[in-house]
Amino acid sequence: MARFAVESWSPEYGSPVGEEGQPDLVPAAAVDPSIELPAAEWQPIDCASADIATDVLFVDGVRRIDARLWFDIDGRSRGGIAASYAAGVIRCRDEATIEQEAVGRGIFAMTGAATIDCGKVRYEHHPTATEDMEQLQRGIQSEMGRMEKDLAAKAGPAELLFLDGPLRGGESIPGAVGYIKSHQAGYLPDEAAGVVGQLRPGQRTPLFLIQQSWSRYSWYVRLPIDLPGHPWAGIARCEVAARGTAREAAAVANRASVTLQRFASTPHKDTRAPQNLFPIAGLENHLRHRLGDREFLYRQLRMAALAGEG
């Protein structure tokens, strides 16, 4: 086993050396708002006529850094992280059942680090290019994404499949609708952005095309909300891969928008209501629980480090 030490600072503080992890920001992108309606004619689209899907899958994953580690690689101390991650698929038909779930634990560090076996648990080494925190985070994200994709494939067909979070190009689950509840990038030109504020629950914006390294159709939808707050309250963004025609994408958008209404959470039960959907919150709770007790894992890692010393 490679020699390693566990950072004594609790993982949520980051590390006294090195950078904080950066959120996965989408760079400003070329956006074409005139896919469904010309940008100047943008107006809310009512989806009520679309069929509500009765067999829906939600795919989500959770991750957690269990410890920050220092590996002794070629005489140099290199940072790495030990992370637990889990993914699951929930099917909402008559009952909401967790159909697939899996837990993984990994060491994300540069080549030269190694798998750590703590006896009860085992952290598999996934080599990263650098010891940069962003790289390490991306490593976890990509392992988790792979897990999500595998599980979604096992789950079998459904009328709609929502993936919590943005799609990731070719790595994504085929046919998935990406569901994004927080808005870090403004995609729309100002004249179109005003329509978002006009949306009533169950309505969506026209589609717009985002072209980055890969293309996807996206739209904003308003979820049920009791008290109208600021213009963006209860707004979620969805996206689908731009593989088919805009007309096909619009049909999916209508159906997804009307179906989502049913799963929206209520403020007294969820601080991120209504966007944090009930099934996803339930799945996340379940998966977080499956990650295991962090204190316990942290202790296991430290014990393994001490054993490696000796």
């Binding site: 929930i90 909401a96 799963f263 039960k269 099934p279």
Partner: protein, 567 residues
């Protein structure tokens, strides 16, 4: 130790989210399995070093929850298919036995099995009982036993049964136990001489013990058989009722049942000779007055009475045949200045004497039928106790007369047993409404006798099966001396009292909703009281449960029995 018992099927595992202790732990129930209240379970724990400890217990609570739900209203989201959640059932288990006694907690994750057959017998200590009496059935019709050694006086004696009238079926259960003891043959040859004395205190419930119950359904009959008992009436019973008021022949005072019932009373001579006067003053309030001194003085005089052939007496030259004559005679002696000190004792105030006389007169209407020498052949009216079971019917009597009868019968039995000085044959005494005879407060001659029975009866072979609505109103020492405690339906205020401290909290709650035919039985060896059902009585408890008289008419019933033979 003998070989390991066969193992039952696994039903779940010990959980780690509730404390697991040597006395109590929780087990989650596996999918497609269930545990219900009173189920008996078994599990093992291997100690460092490889020794294995067998742990047994009883389910005292079961619960089901939605895991994944945080709010009560989440249940709607879950049933609409919006929120994922898992249903999980868990059972609280009170341990009954550790074998060997290494009191370590069961480990979370350990597999819990339903205990059946030999394993169940081990869990409930049945396998170690050298002789045992069937005391009921579990919900799934498995037999439940009590250790005879705690009933027959070897290591303990007496049964105390509490429960609300009507639904608790206390006397029926007492009779079920008596029947089980007699039938099970646990005493072998000696057992043939064991007897039971039963007081019938309410309607004619116990006046049909010798009649099979025609309403006994085959499935109930088979429950008897699964306990190793024959669903039958008591084979050998004699019935005694007080004489009908105003009847010169002292015919028995019964409503529905006539054949085979004798009438009982005591002669004036017995009353004088055996100090029965004290039982006329058996009310607890009597003891607070100064009567006892007068009572003892009068009794001393009455003992000098000379017996005539028909049970009448001659005292100080006066012949007395009936009770009111005797009362008048005593009153005359106490009111006469010359004889007053001699009969009533010195330095007794006139007020006390007057009060005594008033009470004595007050007793006449209720007791004149029970203390008399105006009927020929009085020996035929003594409670004979020739049969295995003797039923003494007192339900028609007023309270004062009831106390008198119970007091006198027990007093005589106690004296007889004391003189015999042997434990066997056993005498089982079934007495309901213990609170009337041995109330918690005060003292009275009857209470003293019952206390004697409770405290010394064990060695004399007198086994008291006492019952009452509320144990909190009965003398503590009597309840405390009962090795077997039984609880039927209780009202909730009563269930909360200290007297039921031997019941775990859930069982106290349960006692408030128990159906007739269900009892909680606590016996010394088993740390957890068990809820048992007992089958519908196989003897008739009402006229309409008995076979019609044509069928009934056997050699047993003499239509003229109870009538005084003509001279």
């Amino acid at each position: 130790m003998d070989e390991k018992p066969a193992k039952g099927e696994a039903v779940g595992r010990v959980i780690g989210t509730e404390d697991s202790t040597p006395l109590e732990f929780w087990a989650a129930v596996g999918p497609n399995q269930f545990l219900q209240l009173d189920d008996v379970v078994a599990l093992e724990r291997t100690l460092p070093g490889g020794d294995s400890v067998e742990i047994y217990g009883v389910v005292t609570q079961v619960r089901a929850r939605h895991e994944g739900a945080r709010f009560d209203s989440d249940v709607f989201l879950i049933s609409e298919g919006v929120l994922p959640a898992e249903r999980v059932e868990a059972a609280r288990i009170l341990t009954t036995r550790y074998e060997p006694e290494v009191f370590v907690p069961p480990l979370p994750g350990s597999e819990v099995r339903k205990a059946r057959g030999v394993e169940r017998e081990r869990a409930l200590f049945f396998e170690g009982m050298t002789s045992r009496v069937p005391a009921g059935l579990s919900r799934s019709d498995e037999p439940f036993y009590i250790n005879l050694e705690f009933l027959d006086g070897t290591r303990g004696a007496h049964v105390n049964i509490s429960g609300v009238s009507g639904v608790a079926t206390k006397t029926t259960y007492a009779m079920f136990l008596v029947n089980a003891v007699f039938q099970s043959g646990v005493f072998g040859v000696e057992g043939q001489h064991n007897k039971a004395l039963v007081f019938n205190v309410k309607s004619e419930d116990l006046m049909y013990l010798d009649q099979p119950n025609v309403k006994l359904k085959p499935e109930q009959a088979s429950r008897y058989r699964s306990l190793g008992l024959e669903p039958a009436a008591f084979p050998s019973v004699e019935f005694w009722a007080p004489p009908r008021p105003g009847d010169r022949n002292a015919a028995p005072w019964t409503e529905r049942r006539h054949p085979g019932v004798g009438s009982f009373f005591w002669t004036i001579h017995e009353f004088c000779r055996d100090d029965l006067l004290q039982f006329l003053f058996a009310d607890v309030s009597d003891e607070r007055q100064q009567y006892p001194m007068v009572v003892h003085a009068v009794m001393a005089q009455l003992r000098k009475a000379r017996k005539l052939d028909d049970g009448a007496v001659v005292i100080e030259g006066k012949t007395i045949h009936v009770f009111d004559e005797l009362v008048r005679f005593i009153a005359d002696r106490l009111e006469d200045e010359e004889t007053k000190d001699f009969w009533g004792g010195r330095a007794i105030g006139q007020g006390t004497l007057n009060a005594f006389i008033r009470r004595l007169y007050g007793a006449v209407p209720h007791l004149k039928n029970l203390i008399r020498s105006d009927v020929p052949n009085p020996a035929a009216h003594a409670i004979a106790r020739q049969k295995q079971v003797t039923v003494v019917d007192i339900h028609n009597l007023n309270q004062r007369a009831q106390r008198f009868v119970v007091g006198v019968v027990l007093y005589r039995m106690f004296q007889t047993k004391e003189e015999a000085g042997t434990r066997l044959p056993l005498e089982f005494i079934v007495l309901d409404e213990m609170n009337k005879y041995a109330p918690r407060e005060g003292s009275s001659p009857i209470k003293e006798i019952l206390l004697d029975v409770a405290e010394r009866g064990r060695s004399l072979g007198m086994i008291l099966l006492g019952a009452e609505q509320t144990a909190s109103e009965v003398e503590r020492r009597i309840v405390a001396n009962a090795a077997i405690r039984v609880v039927g339906r209780l009202d909730s205020a009563e269930a909360g009292r200290d007297e039921y401290g031997f019941l775990p909290v859930v069982q106290r709650q349960r006692a408030t909703i128990m159906k007739p035919g269900t009892m909680i039985v606590s016996q010394p060896e088993l740390p957890v009281p068990m809820v048992v059902e007992f089958p519908f009585p196989s003897w008739a408890t009402r006229a309409d449960e008995a076979p019609p008289p044509t069928v009934r008419g056997g050699t047993d019933s003499d239509p003229f029995e109870g009538m005084a033979p003509e001279d």
